[in-house]
């Protein structure tokens, strides 16, 4: 806490600090989307035939789908032919590449973002897959992980090197027919991370992916697949940033998690995409489908997310609790400021007996932003003895922001138990006066009160992320008082 407090103080006056652009030679597709583009994409990635067919099938279906408009969001519709679907730094040779061969400019980019990839400076205990626009540029600690039997690589590599695993699981949790953005992603997904933890293995370190959007007018279509085999455990972290640009950029990701018998996946996100400026100009459109299938008995998936970025967030990390006794958890902090809009929450689908789920959602609204929690808790007919606990708390800063909560509950089983709690509070003048009377300045006071509000979620985050998340809130709230 000592260093966190100190750093937090220094950070108060900073702007979005990851807004720089890396000047690097790239190969970029012309904007536009058609079957040729998808075929070229698949060729560049040297994908097996099955992958191309999978993509084309998804694309043809996507053409018939409509962009959803049920969310509490307002944004200019996206012209999907105005986006480039592939942008990657040029490289001399194609894969595989060792770190020594990675363009030093890229390594410097990640260093500036606080993610050193070099051998001598690697983050202790955290293996990183660095994704830059449409490609993974480096993955650290691959060898020690391989010794433990853990596969940790980019999804592009996995498609080539582990086609049977990919074919067995890809699209089983989020089929391409699921929704508009998932369909688009299936057709054009660029890169992301693949993890396989074999039976009985406790992954020896934290795994993480750092997503960076750099190129202009490019969409990022991340695809991540994590499989935890019987009795295994893995903790995975995801971070993301982008340059400050006046144009909106699309990030449409799909993340699929599969947990077999007695397996546990802990998935943490600190989402810090560029949120746009104080007048609501620019920023990332973040349309993401994240879902876990707890197919094994007593399997467990825990989603923890801290959402501070993006101009628009549309995201509902969910759990399908199929295995008997499986457990789903969702811990979320979503902070919106200026003109940001977030429509986020979770779905807990209880199918198996004695399945349990916990939802803790903390929404913080400041400026003129809009913050929505949208959640579904559903119990199937065979979900005997299933139960859910939901807590949704909203905190308002100022009087021009909005917070909404849309909880949906559907139960087809009489034995299911649901508990729901919801509160809305404001950072009160009395709290502010108490803090200031004790010599604490306003920005610091707000940040302290907000951090206190989020405590139940922060304690679910891995240590180094919890500090990061606290700092992020501090920066994001800058200028929200006075």
């Amino acid at each position: 806490m000592t260093t966190a407090n100190k750093e937090v103080n220094e950070l108060i006056k900073r702007e979005y600090e990851h807004g720089f652009v890396t000047d690097i030679e790239v190969d970029t597709f012309e904007p536009g989307l058609n079957e040729d583009v998808i075929t070229r994409l698949s060729e560049i990635k040297k994908e097996p035939q099955f992958m191309l067919e999978w993509r084309l099938k998804a694309y043809r279906r996507w053409l018939e789908m409509e962009e959803p408009d049920w969310a509490h969001l307002g944004y200019e519709r996206i012209d999907y032919n105005d986006i480039s679907y592939y942008s990657a730094p040029k490289r001399k040779e194609d894969m595989p590449q060792s770190l020594d061969e990675v363009d030093p400019e890229l390594l410097r980019t990640y260093e500036r973002l606080g993610i050193p990839l070099h051998e001598h400076a690697k983050l202790a205990g955290v293996a990183v897959d660095a994704v830059f626009d449409s490609v993974s540029v480096a993955t650290t600690f691959k060898e020690p992980l391989a010794k433990a039997g853990v596969i940790f690589c980019s999804i592009s590599e996995a498609v080539r090197d582990y086609p049977e695993l990919v074919q067995k699981y890809l699209g089983t949790v989020v089929p391409h027919t699921d929704n508009f953005f998932a369909g688009l992603n299936a057709a054009v997904f660029s890169d992301g991370t693949f993890v396989y933890v074999p039976k009985g293995v406790r992954c020896p370190m934290e795994l993480s992916t750092y997503f960076r959007i750099n190129a202009a007018n490019t969409g990022q279509f991340e695809r991540t697949l994590i499989i935890a085999d019987e009795g295994s455990y893995v903790s995975y972290l995801e971070g993301c940033t982008a340059p400050m640009r006046d144009e909106n950029q699309l990030h449409a990701a799909v993340v699929e998690l599969v947990a077999l018998d007695n397996a546990e996946i802990k998935y943490s996100t600190v989402q810090n995409w560029y949120p746009g400026d104080e007048n609501g100009k620019g920023g990332i459109y973040n349309f993401v489908t994240k879902r876990a299938a707890c197919i094994g008995k007593n399997s467990k998936v825990s989603w923890t997310q801290v959402e501070t970025g993006s101009a628009v967030t549309w995201k509902y990390p969910s759990c399908i609790l199929r295995g008997e006794g499986s457990v789903g958890e969702f811990y979320s902090v979503a902070l919106t400021h200026n003109y940001q809009q977030a429509d986020t929450g979770t779905k807990m689908i209880h199918l198996g007996k004695n399945t349990t789920s916990t939802i803790i959602s903390k929404g913080i609204s400041a400026g003129k932003s809009s913050n929505v929690y949208r959640g579904l808790v559903k119990f199937g007919p065979r979900a005997e003895g299933a139960r859910n606990f939901t807590e949704c708390d909203s905190l308002l800063i100022g009087d021009q922001c909005g917070a909404h909560t849309f909880p949906y509950i559907e139960s087809l089983n009489k034995s299911a138990i649901v508990e729901h709690e919801a509160t809305t509070s404001k950072v009160s003048d009395e709290q502010m006066f108490l803090c200031r009377q004790r010599g604490i300045d306003m920005e610091r006071a707000v940040s302290m009160i907000v951090n206190g509000f989020c405590k139940d979620v922060f304690r679910e985050l891995p240590m180094e992320f919890a500090v990061e998340a606290g700092k992020l809130l501090e920066v994001s709230l800058e200028g929200s008082v006075g």
Binding site: M1, F433, R438, G439, M448
Partner: protein, 257 residues
């Protein structure tokens, strides 16, 4: 140390303080007494800089500096401390974190290095014993689920941690049983020092049995109507505010019994 001249203050266009004059020297303890609605708490809040009150005229200086032009947090860093009558809760923020942030903000202002976690913990444990609070309180949210008495002891603990130049205690005795009153009084007496001024706002005389003030002032309808030594409080206790021709409202009269 503190000089208040012809202070007028209002809230929502209603004038509460109607010309307060008061001088307090370092080392002195002053008690402000008066019935409910007389403006006692308003005076405390105005001195601490609560924006809800507007100072319409008059001046306040502390050590020859204009106090009124300073923001709340600047006054606090210069040594003004207010023990609140109704301390507010801050859920999820531990008492320890809150106090350490506060102590370090003041140290920073004085050009001193920040206290590290271990040093601070040691100090906080010692002081918590002084006000008979279990050190486990340090880990709980600020005033979260505290009883009335615990909140008041927590306020005194903070005063002891911060070692202010001017400590303003707003009804610190209200809602305390005899044992808690003793603990709080001992804490306040421990604050008495040559270089520190204490201003106590109280409705009742009983606190003054434990903390004997140097001066007692009676506030009525926004003005100080009588000043004297500690004997004035005793006389008030015996004869009631009516003795000074002050009307006491019914709630005050009934709760006094």
């Amino acid at each position: 140390m503190l000089s208040i001249k012809n202070l007028h203050a209002s809230v929502e266009d209603k004038e509460i303080l109607k010309g307060i004059n008061l001088d307090i020297k370092a080392g002195e303890v002053h008690a402000i007494m008066g019935p409910n609605g007389s403006g006692k708490s308003t005076l405390a809040q105005v001195l601490a800089g609560n924006d809800a009150f507007e100072v319409t005229s008059g001046s306040v200086t502390m050590n020859d500096e204009d106090l009124l032009e300073k923001a709340t947090e600047e006054r606090a860093r210069d040594g003004v401390f207010l023990a609140f009558q109704y301390p507010v809760e801050i859920p999820g923020v531990s008492n320890l974190q809150f106090m350490r942030t506060s102590v370090n903000a003041l140290r920073h202002h004085r050009g001193e290095s920040e206290m590290n976690a271990a040093e601070f913990m040691k100090l906080a444990r010692e002081v918590s014993k002084q006000v008979d609070l279990d050190p486990a309180f340090l880990k709980r949210g600020v005033n979260e689920g505290f009883s009335g008495g615990e909140k008041k002891r927590n306020e005194i603990m903070q005063a002891l941690m911060l070692q202010p130049k001017l400590a303003i205690l707003d009804e610190t005795d209200s809602g305390l049983d005899i044992d808690a009153l003793k603990v709080v009084s001992d804490g306040v007496n421990a604050l008495r020092a040559e270089d520190r001024a204490i201003l106590m706002v109280t409705h009742y005389q009983r606190l003054l049995d434990h903390i004997v003030p140097d001066f007692v002032h009676v506030l009525a309808e926004g003005k100080i109507v009588k000043s004297g030594g500690p004997e004035l409080a005793l006389e008030l206790e015996e004869r009631g505010y009516a003795w000074l021709g002050i009307k006491e409202d019914e709630t005050a009269a009934s709760s006094a019994n």
